[in-house]
Symmetry: C3
Subunit: 430 residues, 3 copies
């Protein structure tokens, strides 16, 4: 099973060097590589200038090269080494500047003097460079040649979508969203696309799916807003639970970011699964949000979306810097998140309300489900089964029962199957 | 008052040697002895083979004698010394066996090597013996003569019932259930029948009873299921609160076992009374259930039944072994539980919603209910009365008020009577 | 701003020597002095004998002088030194008594031997004196001349009322109540009238008032009951929140006394404002009530009234003794309470439900409300604004939002104004 962890890590390694932004060829190249794993993904282009609620799809940005040379012609900063050196959405530039002119164009992370920060200026046209605070501090008086070979043009915003149908033909959907707009950073955000594409692969291989699955790979914020502006009515009608998948690659912890009121089915299943998988997981309120759950939970959108992460964006020191590199994530880190999301999806698939079919406790013994000799302690092993039966009164769904009787949904699914076989419980109609 | 404690203890002493099981003459003999205290008890026989929901009333079992002799003819185990030596519902046997053949027939309690466990096999026909682990370990190679003089026959299941009518002629009932199927053990379960029969006696002597009382003495599990299968519709219609009375004889603590959702009137009054009587009482969720509250709370039955115990079944080391003997229980232990159940019943009897009869605070002073000189601290003594009045707004019952103002229901009953006399409050219609 | 603190303290100093009671000229004199600050106050006289629910307006009491002389004619107790020396509502007396006859007439505070207690006997006719326990203990055998020049006559109960209209013409009211019946004590109770009259002054100066304000200065208990008996229907219809203003003058702490169920708008705003102003404030349940919130919350009255105090009545050692003097309160103590009540009133004035006017997050950047360069940490300053928008979904009022996003209402008022200007939110109809 850990093979999937290795595959996800290899995928991230391959995607790492690509210079992604909210538009442009880096996004297209990334989506093409994801399609090799799930060819069912369709690609979509939304033209610059398209209105999306309060926003407008911006121009498309591409960058080919960038550097700063000193007066000796030595490159003291080179986009080819890491694309973080160029501020995202920089205009092209090619000119000589003094040190005094150069300094305001350089962004650093003063509290982490050896890290290059990730900086963008999507909605105000300017240019800029990023380097470490140490490097900036050591820049001598000189004449510098600054060069950015970029282009900002009427083009389009690109996203990928995978729609996986229910095998039951029902209309309800589970929604997964991740983003593909970050340049060379690993946990935030190659882990999200990698885990999500392998979840899509696993879902496609499942024999039975209660739900439809809507899975999107978009640029953050503007991509989510654009997608919502084109799909909101059907999403509101169909989506029962959704997850924003981001920062799912390291090994340090598990986290959960609540929806606006923390009370949706998505929150319920996420908290249940994490409480058994990793009881010390960190709970963040919606006040600590930061990714596309912002849009999915905005007033008027109101989708039941939360997030399960490993180390959450904004909460680990390497976040949004060059330190968020391939050494920060691992096959086991990615696999842990993948496994949790699979458990979440399985719990949702089985999350029916169940109704016991007899009055009083059933006589389990005559069905071979119970010890025939009664002695102190002999019932401990079948406690989950009798507890399941006690709460299968039609008012609780499987997650409620799991919460009530302190047994993982995973374990209850196998009990439910045994009881269904023996006609001791039935699934209730929705 | 402690005389009642002594009487209950004497009753247990007399009942202790009888070999009870879920059917048979031991149960009949026990019920006859209880009838000496409350002749109003009626006895009922339900034939073997009667269907009871998912269950069937089993054959009737009686045992006269049992022993194991070694090759010298010495009895190394003797039913006459304690009836726990025979596994409940053992088939008759009379044969010689080797040590190797004997050992699998012997049940012990390995974690308590000097205790004889209580073991039964009601629904699979077999035979067996129980002894201490120490004795079993010391058995030499030998030829053993094993002998059980028992009988498993078409007969009946016996139970006792006491119905005590309301003096107001209303239909609502309080339900008390205890069980009479355990052989020679004291806390679990002679304490239950002893306390319950004396509660019945006290109820019969009361001049006024708001409620009807339905009190049953049954074999555990199959008895409760059988009784329910014959009375469920009327019970669901009438019962307002019920209690499974078990393990009410020792002095160590008080416990409460919640109903399925812990939210019935029975739970409410039990928690209220215990919180004043013994604030450190142990609260067990329904997941820690184990006695007939299992049936009364099963989906489809849904009766408002919880349990108040001293040391709860399954939670004390002597449970279901020969160590649960007459030394474990005491007159004060029994009396403590009896007193708590009386307080619970009194609280239910007075548990009306009350409505104050004037706007603003009444002028208590002119009725002699209030100090006429006002000085710091002078109102401390009548705080419960003014607090009672403040919350007697028609929305709270007496237990709610007790919980809100932190005063025991007992104390509030006397205040209520004073205020009723002065026409300052009235009982509200249900 | 602290000038208001000084003015309130000066007012208390001026009012301190007056001998107030629940009726009489001391009350009238006090109200006249308050009218110098707010001439809009109207004075009302309710005749002795008027029925008020379960109560009757008592006779009017006035006292001119009182003393005890020893046999040498020396005054050993003198009303002119402090009016606390005479038990409130004492009948006139002028006679010689032995020490043995004197002692039962003298009230002391044994647990505070150097304090003169505040003692009254409003509803039983008697006379009495108050002195320190130390003085009482030192009284020698002697013949004493006791003298009280008082009068108990058919007269009236006096109260003051200020009605300040809404500038919006709506019917809803905020209610403020304080009392003017305590003789020479400072925190309890000159602080209440002083803070309340300055709140009235501030309210009158406001350009815009959403609510009407009903502000009363009454004798405690009988005054509140009398006022309610004459105004209850309109008060129940109009009052949205009210506060009993008492003990608001010292510097030690802030306190809150809950309404009967602690769940009214008054409780909600009081707890919110205090939680930001003084997070360690003391919360008292309605069981710790003691002032006129008793009447406003009585069953049948059911007004949404709670109290915010500094050191609450009954909870500080000087309470109801001569130690509650002008040294106990301070300009800053009075001002602190005044400021909290102003914040409470402002929060109520702005406490609308707000609804964001676009789907998804608005693009704040294009309105100059958001940084144009995106880098780790750059959004910290505008978190309250984005959080406000996230919860401005029409279901939350301003206090709910403040509670949800942990930002003071004060701060949210300025954000709301900015968002209203930009048409990003709208106030919802009630």
């Amino acid at each position: 099973m850990m093979r999937t962890g290795d595959e996800m890590y290899a995928l991230c390694t391959e995607l790492f060097p690509i210079c992604r932004s909210i538009t442009g060829d880096g996004v297209r190249q990334t989506l093409q590589m994801l399609r090799r794993i799930v060819p069912e993904m369709t690609l979509h282009e939304v033209p610059s200038g398209t209105q999306a609620f309060d926003w407008t799809v911006p121009k498309e940005w591409n960058v080919r090269d960038a550097w700063i040379k000193n007066s000796k012609g030595e490159k003291i900063l080179d986009f080819q080494k890491t694309n973080l050196h160029v501020m995202g959405y920089s205009l092209p530039v090619d000119k000589k500047v003094t040190l005094a002119e150069l300094l305001p164009l350089i962004h650093t992370q003063p509290d982490q003097p050896d890290a290059i920060p990730y900086v963008t200026s999507y909605y105000k046209e300017r240019y800029g460079f990023c380097m470490t605070q140490n490097q900036k501090d050591a820049l001598p008086e000189d004449t510098y040649h600054i060069y950015i070979d970029s282009e900002l043009k009427i083009g389009s915003l690109t996203y990928g979508e995978i729609l996986i149908p229910s095998t039951e033909g029902n209309e309800d959907e589970i929604f997964l969203s991740t983003y593909v707009c970050h340049p060379s950073m690993a946990n935030n955000e190659l882990s999200g696309p990698a885990v999500t594409i392998y979840l899509a692969k696993w879902l496609l291989e499942k024999k039975h799916r209660r739900y439809n699955y809507r899975i999107i790979f978009i640029p953050e914020t503007i991509g989510a807003i654009t997608y919502l502006s084109q799909h909101l009515p059907e999403m509101k009608k169909r989506i029962r639970a959704g997850f924003n998948i981001s920062c799912v690659g390291d090994d340090r912890t598990y986290s959960y970011v609540a929806s606006r009121y923390g009370d949706t089915l998505a929150d319920k299943v996420a908290k249940n699964v994490l409480s058994f998988h990793y009881p010390e997981y960190k709970q963040y309120s919606f006040l600590q949000r930061g990714s596309d759950e912002r849009q999915y939970n905005a007033p008027g959108v109101d989708l039941p979306v939360c997030a399960v992460c490993r180390s959450k964006y904004g909460e680990y020191p390497e976040y949004h810097t060059s330190k968020d590199d391939m050494g920060l994530i691992s096959p086991s880190g990615l696999y842990g998140a993948y496994a949790v999301y699979r458990d979440i999806i399985e719990a949702l698939e089985y999350n029916h309300r169940y109704q016991v079919q007899c009055v009083c406790e059933p006589q389990l013994g005559k069905r071979g489900l119970y010890p025939t000799i009664s002695q102190k302690g002999c019932y401990d092993d079948i406690k989950s089964m009798t507890n399941f039966i006690a709460y299968a009164d039609g008012s609780n769904d499987l997650i409620d029962i799991s919460n009530s009787i302190h047994a993982p949904v995973k374990h209850l699914i196998s009990i439910a199957e045994k009881l269904l076989e023996n006609h001791l419980i039935e699934c209730m109609e929705e």
